[in-house]
Every structure is written in structure tokens, then in C-alpha cells.
Amino acid sequence: MKPIASHRISLAAALVLPLVLLGFSWAETYRLAQQGDEWLIPIRGYDPRDLLRGHYVQYQYDWPVEAASSRQRGGDAPFNASFASQLCIEGTAPDISGVRELPLILGRSDPEQAKGCAIIARASFGARREVRGLNSGILFTSQTRALALSRQLANPDQRGFVRVRIRPDGVMRPVDLEFRPRSRI
């Protein structure tokens, strides 16, 4: 049997280790959450029946991609956010004036092409499936609010926007959902 003193020390160490690291993880998440500017990205909801999974709302980005820029790249294929690895966002925060896809060449983007970008959003690979890529994201919220949001997203008179904070390294983090009346044509 080990002496009591060393037993107590190892118990203290084993108790303090998770507390310190959990606290550090919290502090680091907080620090990263403060970085970057907020942008408003138009979104469209999924089928309302699919919108709510647990206490979060799942949405799809409706990037205002310039038609000219995608045609310029030579493909007739429509822009698909699932396959884009980085997007150049133009405008002044929080209003986006235009978005174009930045092709990756050997894992790096062409500095010529990146000219004029206010910020570059990058697809996150280490995230859960619902937020992988630049196609869709989720916003955690309370149950009652999630129900209200899903109703608003389904309303054709309103356009939904997600307010995201984009860090300088291109990682996006949703802050909230907002709605504006849709201009009638």
C-alpha cells in the first residue's frame, strides 16, 4: 500500500488536471469567440420539418455569388457551396456586396485573385457534419426560440440572415439569426 501522503497528492493532481484543462478550454474558446468582424449572410431554411433537430436550427447559406465570376471560371456548373473551400467576401462589415469563389492551387490561393476581398471565409474540416464546408451551419438556441425561428424561416415574406463572426483566419461562428422583409418584385 502506498503511503497516505503520496495517495493524497495523486488524488489532488488527478482532480486538478481536468479542472485546469476544462477551464483553459473555456478561456480559449472565449478568446477565439471575440475575434473577427460580424457579417450578415443571407440564408434559406431547410424544409421546416428538418429545421429543428434537438435545440438547434439548421440553415443553408444563400451566398450572393456573382454570376459573372463563376462563368468566368469557364464552367457551366452552377456554384455549389458544398464544394467550395474558400470564399472571397466583398463589402463592409456587416453588409456583403458580393461573394466569389477562390480556387485553391496547391493548397494556396492566388494573391492576385484575393485582391479586393474584405475577408476570406474558409471551409472548416474539423467540424461536425452539419457545419462542414461552406454550405450549411447550425445555431444552438432554446427550444421555444428554435420553434419561433423555424416558423420565421418558413415565412416567404421575410428573408433570413445569419449574423456570423468571421475570424481573420477565416473560421466562421454564428452569432444569431435575423430577419428582414423581402422586397417584392
Binding site: 497516505i4 488536471l17 481536468p18 484543462l21 473555456w26 474539423g126
Partner: protein
């Protein structure tokens, strides 16, 4: 211990009044009021779930960082409680000390999810699980005593491996953004190995620790996991068609099984240790032989292959249990063997089933198997001993 039995033994002259009194006294001192503890445990669980629900229902009113602070404060408080009482509590009641550790560990795991919700960050499940394992393993493995902690820790290990594999398992659904393992043969071989590592590690730790019971429990849980996993692979074997080299992956897994068997054989010279090592060696052989057989010749097919492998595996378990006198394991193995033989009889009679003869034969065979099983189980089931 029943009072009636004591009195019967006393009347039969097996024990005298003084000894009966001493037995009663000892039993009273050491009895565990399991029913009482179960009710207290259920009550604590209900209260805990209730608190979580109340917080979850009103979380718009409570700022996220306040919620996180409360969550963190709870963990700090419980850690203080553990620091003060764990050494005494562990001597008195295994379930009490394990219960406290369990609550702290689960609070720690849910903290990852809570931070993610407040700051709207998301990560795949395996990342928080792995981080949790790293930071809580010292506490759980150094101070755990009973099955709640052994089970929780092993569930964490298997859950982390499973959720990591699950990310790649759905690659076909997510286009080019879905990551694929760089070396599929190596990856799919290694991802199945944590259970083998846990079995070997537990065997190593058993005699080096002040809590051999805990490590023995962990080793048994790991071996049971291996047996169940291999059984599922055997059952699914015919449909498993990977894009990678299945034989290579199976070879890696079998090497891990051989390694675990060697470690257990070396450190535990008891009949129980030898039986466990032998079982793992048989498992290694079967795990490698099955994909070899399926890939070598396309014509070798049929229900009997999978049945043969299953019967060999659980036959070995029964033999090992008989050798090491694990009563419970023996009975489970015999029951599974009987079930598989009955299923096989129906599978092989496939074409005859339409005719009554097939049904009658299958029925008679099933009854014969059931009868033999009961006879074997009664006659040869080892008398359980106090394993430890």
C-alpha cells in the same frame, strides 16, 4: 444470507449457536443494503435530470457565461468533496466513491458540449470524447473501484474510437469534403485495437495496483467486448466488402489480439489468466482466417462458414470457462452455441422448409439441441468461485 438457512444448519448440528451468532454479526456488519442504495441512486439521478431540465427550459433567461460558471462551480465543489471524503469513502462503500467519481466525470464531459452551445462552436463527437479521456483517465483509473467507473471509462474509449471511425464511415454522403483515411488498411486495422490494448493494460496493472478487483473487472469487460465484436464481424462477414485491403486490416487486428494474449499469458499464471490468453489467441486465428477464406476463393460460400466460425469461437469460450471455472461465462457460451446451432439447422434446411419433413426435422433437431444444452450446462457448469 438467510436466517432460515442459518437455523437449519444449526439444527443439523453443522454449526453451533455461538458460531451462528458470529455469522449473523459479521453479515450485519458487511451487508450492503443494495435496495436502499438503488433507491438513493435513482433519486439522485431524477434530481440531476430535473435540474438539467429546469436549466434547459429557462436558458434564455440565464446568460450563457453564468450557466457555464455554475457548471464549473459544481465541478469544483464536487472535486473538493472528493478530495475530502474519497479516501475514507472508498474504504467503506465502493458504490458511494464510484458514484461521486461518476458524477464528476459526466459533468466534465457535458462541459464540452455546454461550452460549444454557449459559443456556437461545433466539433465532431470524437474530439471532446478523446479530450475527456485524456484529462479524466488519471482520476478514473487511479481511484475507480467498481463496475460503474470501469464501465464508464471503457465506454469512453470505445465511444471515441467508434465516433472517429464513424466520420470516415459516411464518406460517401459528403462529397469531396468528407475526409478519407490516408492508409485505409492501417486505419481500419488499428481503429479496432483499443479493446485489445485495454485488456493487456488491465492484466499488466492488476498485480501492480492496490485495487486488483477494478483491473480484473476492466480486463473482463474488454475481453467481453472483443468476443461480442468478433461475433458481430463473423455474423456480418459475408457482407463486409471494404474498399480497402480487408486481409491487411484483419492481420493488424489479429496481431493486436496475439499481443494482448501474450501479455496476459506472461503476467497472469493462474488458470483464469491462461484461459483468457488462449481465448484471445483463438479469436486472433478466427479474425484472420475469415477474410482469408472469403477472398481466396469466390466459390466458398454458404451459411455453414459463418456458423462454423461462430461455433468455434464460442466453443473455445465454453472450453476456457470450463478450464478457468467461470460459471457465468460458461452458461452464456453454451446458450449462444445452442442458439446458433438451431439457426443453422433452419438455414441448411432452406430448400426443405417448404415440405413438412424439413420443418419436422428442424424442430426435432432444435429440441435435441435444447435438451443436450440443458444437460451439459447442469452437468459440467463449473461451480463458481470467488474470482479476484
Amino acid at each position: 444470507m438467510s436466517e432460515r438457512q442459518l437455523r437449519a444448519w444449526q439444527d443439523a448440528g453443522l454449526i453451533d449457536a455461538e458460531m451462528a451468532g458470529r455469522i449473523r454479526e459479521w453479515e450485519a456488519m458487511h451487508s450492503r443494503p443494495l435496495g436502499l442504495w438503488a433507491i438513493i441512486g435513482l433519486g439522485a439521478l431524477a434530481i440531476g435530470l430535473g435540474i438539467v431540465s429546469v436549466v434547459a427550459a429557462n436558458w434564455d433567461e440565464i446568460p450563457g457565461e453564468t450557466r457555464l460558471a455554475i457548471h464549473f462551480g459544481l465541478m469544483v465543489g464536487l472535486a473538493g468533496l472528493l478530495w475530502r471524503y474519497l479516501p475514507d469513502a472508498a474504504e467503506k462503500n465502493v458504490y458511494f466513491s464510484d458514484g461521486l467519481l461518476f458524477i464528476v466525470a459526466v459533468l466534465g464531459l457535458s462541459f464540452f458540449g455546454h461550452v460549444g452551445q454557449v459559443y456556437q462552436t461545433s466539433s465532431p463527437l470524437w474530439q471532446p470524447l478523446l479530450a475527456w479521456l485524456v484529462i479524466f483517465s488519471p482520476l478514473l483509473l487511479l481511484f475507480g473501484r467498481g463496475w460503474p467507473i470501469a464501465g464508464l471509462w471503457l465506454a469512453g474509449v470505445l465511444g471515441a474510437a467508434w465516433s472517429h471511425a464513424d466520420e470516415y464511415g459516411h464518406a460517401w454522403m459528403w462529397g469531396q469534403h468528407a475526409p478519407r483515411p490516408d492508409h485505409p488498411t492501417l486505419y481500419w486495422g488499428l481503429i479496432a485495437c483499443p479493446a485489445m490494448a485495454v485488456a493487456a493494460f488491465s492484466a499488466l496493472m492488476r498485480d501492480r495496483s492496490g485495487r486488483p478487483g477494478f483491473w480484473s473487472l476492466l480486463e473482463k469487460l474488454a475481453i467481453a467486448t472483443i468476443l461480442i465484436g468478433l461475433s458481430l464481424v463473423i455474423i456480418a462477414g459475408e457482407w463486409l466488402r471494404g474498399t480497402h485491403d480487408m486481409i491487411g486490416s484483419a492481420a493488424i487486428q489479429s496481431l493486436a489480439l496475439i499481443g494482448a494474449a501474450a501479455v496476459i499469458h506472461a503476467v497472469r499464471q493462474t488458470s483464469s489468466g491462461q484461459a483468457a490468453a488462449g481465448l484471445l489467441a483463438v479469436a486472433a486465428l478466427l479474425n484472420f482466417a475469415q477474410p482469408l477464406l472469403y477472398s481466396s476463393d469466390g466459390s466458398i460460400r454458404g451459411p455453414w462458414i459463418s456458423a462454423l466460425f461462430f461455433l468455434t469461437l464460442w466453443g473455445a469460450v465454453a472450453a476456457g470457462a470450463l478450464f478457468a471455472r467461470w460459471r457465468r461465462f460458461f452458461q452464456v457460451a453454451i446458450a449462444l452455441l445452442a442458439l446458433r446451432i438451431i439457426i443453422l439447422s433452419f438455414e441448411l434446411n432452406d430448400d426443405l422448409l417448404g415440405s413438412g419433413a424439413g420443418l419436422i426435422l428442424s424442430g426435432a433437431f432444435a429440441m435435441a439441441v435444447a435438451w443436450v444444452t440443458v444437460r451439459i450446462s447442469r452437468r459440467y457448469a463449473p461451480v463458481g468461485r470467488n474470482e479476484g
